[in-house]
């Protein structure tokens, strides 16, 4: 039995320990906000936070995630109020939206580490792909989220 801490809750899962975290989230816990895109950590659709850092869950064995704090898109905020989510809504960033949970989780982790990233920082840290082509609004969204977060801190 795997024991995982997800979005602050401890969950027990009867899955093979080698099962990637992504599939434990999706098929065992019905947390389907985290998406499958490639299975080889190439596209970023499956990005979650492990101890606050962006991790591609499609290649992380669930056993290795035990004892770690895992956050999925469902746990980023309870009401889409995270600055990245606010910025995404404000700019209408998503198109089809399938890659966006991963894009949002990667962006949130970047801002946690670097509250006012430059374009170069964004280029090197956000390597998720989006086939619809939301990239310009992702970039703008990260800058906007940084502003929202900064204002929130002042308030």
């Amino acid at each position: 039995m795997l024991k995982l801490t997800i979005n602050g809750e401890t969950r027990e899962v009867d899955a093979d320990p080698s099962t990637p975290l992504l599939w434990v989230l999706r098929d065992h816990l019905d947390l389907t906000g985290t998406k499958y895109g490639c299975g080889i950590a190439s596209c970023g659709a499956c990005t979650v936070h492990v101890n606050g850092r962006a991790v591609r869950s499609c290649v992380l064995p669930a056993s290795a995630a035990q004892g770690q704090q895992i956050t999925t898109i469902e746990g980023l905020s309870s009401d889409a109020s995270h600055p990245v989510q606010q910025a995404w809504v404000e700019l209408d960033t998503p198109q089809c939206g399938y890659c966006q949970p991963g894009m949002i989780m990667a962006s949130a982790a970047l801002l946690e580490e670097n509250p006012s990233p430059t374009d170069d920082d964004i280029n090197s840290k956000i390597t998720n792909i989006c086939r619809c082509g939301t990239l310009p609004r992702v970039r703008e969204g990260i800058h906007r989220a940084a502003e929202i977060a900064a204002k929130g801190e002042q308030a």
Binding site: D16, D30, K35, I40, A80, W88, P94, I126, R131, R139
Partner: protein
Amino acid sequence: MSREAVCISRRGFLAGSAATGAGFMLAMKIPFGSDAHADDLPPEINAWVVVNDDDSVTIRIARSEMGQGTLTGLAQLVAEELECDWDTVQWEFPTPGQSLARERPWGSFSTGGSLGIRSSHQYVREGGAAARTMLIAAAAKQWQVDAGECSARDSVITHGPSGKTLTYGTVAATAATMEVPDEVTLKDPKDWRVAGKSKARLDTREKVDGSLRYGADLTFPGMLHAAIHACPVHGGTRKSVNASKAENMPGVHKVVEVGNDAVAVVADSWWQAKTALEAVDVIWETGAATEVNSESIDQMMVEGLSATEDRIFVGNQNGDAPAALKAAKKTITADYRFPMQSHAPMEPMNTTAIWTEDSCEAWVPTQNGEAALEAVAKAAGLFPEQCEVHKVILGGGFGRRGMHDYAIQAVQIARQFPGTPIKLLYSREEDQRRGYYHPLTHARMTAALTDEGELDALHIRISGISILASLRPALQAETLDPFVFQSLGPDGDPPAGDHMGIYEVPNLLIDHAMRNIHLRPGFWRGVNANQNVFYMESFLDEVAQAAGKDPLTFRRGLLKSQPKAQAVLDVVAKKAGWGRELPASHGLGLAVCKSFGSFVAACAEVSVIDGKLTMHKIWAATDPGYAVNPQQIEAQIFGSFVYGLSGALYQEMTVEDGAVVEENFDTYPSMTLAQMPEVESTVMPSGGFWGGVGEPTISVAAPAVLNAVYAATGKRIRHLPVKDQALA
């Protein structure tokens, strides 16, 4: 209650009342609200409009939403005429089964060709206007006044003389019984208040918190998961299967044969199914196709460039290009090539299906709900009336989801598990291997100039794959495929004129040597305009160079009869500062075309330093005739550069032993933020026509960038993708 009884009551119910929702057969609650409609239904005013008790309005959207924003745009058009309060607008997808039962009140469900809005704007606006007329009539009846004295705005009806008001919700039940107006007058677009404005999308919130369930995310009680492996050599068949190892792996219920060319594992979870599938040994029967590889395909296409067989299809001509080229003192010629590409939407193909002897229900991420229902029914061995397809929001489509091979497979698997919901999900590798690829073509471009350096003659010989021939094999031998000539075709009424070549050339010949292969071609976002505009716009720069003329001036000279094309070209040239002094190793490049009914242009600024390409900025302009939601058009322009330039720079499906090689994003990369140039878009609707916006800009992306590469380096790239070709 028997299923039959349920079906009959459903039909009777639908004939006179509102559309019902998902799960009517099996009482399954689908985990998203869009096509679910409670039993206690609020009044449907007509097929498009339901007015709820709280005065909010539900607008029905028949076309598919795959990111392109059609859902919001169509809702804006209905709401504009309905005069409802935009802030209260909700939406739902009617199902293809409801459409069938009600004799297609929503028209076509097909969503492709950048047609979603431009082919339905008229009747959806009429739907909104008719509903408004009926709501006003209902209020007038209640007040015992003349409807002509009443008006509506923001879901409130006002009687002018008395100033009395009623809200839509209070008169909805009466309105539903009012006479349907014979004709309605639509607003002049210059008076639009909701349409034409940059409204926020209606489907954003659920896309930022992970709550939206795509097809891949659906879960039903008792559902089993399926992973599939079909013959990677398209057209091949399954010869033998050894599943003894896989059948004993954890969670596996069964290894099943699917159609004549695939095998699937059905298990408790998808990861178990996929893992076990890798342990299944399959031997395929692939025949001569196994001998095909990229080199042999290219040889076949090169041969077509000079072929003189009878079956050369002429797509556009005027004057006598062969004679003019023969008589010319000097001709310019160059060969171009465009690769096969996979759509690679982020959400892999999937369908969830439940089959019994007399019913089949499927949740299909589809670009054409009606075609999906047909495909599901056929695979189920049932009549369409016994089946239902539920539409979901798509995780990308780009043309791939207009085909329904994956839905058919899901039903074929579900038939082997009667009564059990089966979710079939492709792996990324399967998605790549079993694509319908962008057609590969080559082109030989030959031009002649007059002594004054004017373009006198142009012959474009296209050699390559026809999508239409693949879809209609019976016609292949003798039928021209008009899609092959997209954006190079003759002028004419839509749809032909939507893809006309814009340049006036005294002697013109564009013809096609059809060369098909066993791998399936398909409509890939932008379709054949992508390569044709790349060929035309790159080569025009070559011809301008040979004529000693500036590429902008040269193009303008050929666009005298196309003021709208000239206008978008002029805008991008002006915004980019065409002719300005550039930093060392920088270049500007132009491209312009008409495709999918819109006029589009781009000007790119790039630099190439030590062989490394940097795209600094692209200025883009689109004249779609009418702009229903300018900020969403901007999003489509941005997206077109990402999709088009990912293809032009990096993406190619190569072939070895009859199968494609690139099976995942490591070998089939897509652009990331580090490569993405700044894009400045100008949306400049000039009125008088309706053009699409999801695809046209793709075709100008590659030539604008590669003309800029030439301007920066003197290096002409004629083969796509650029990939590892030296740029200096």
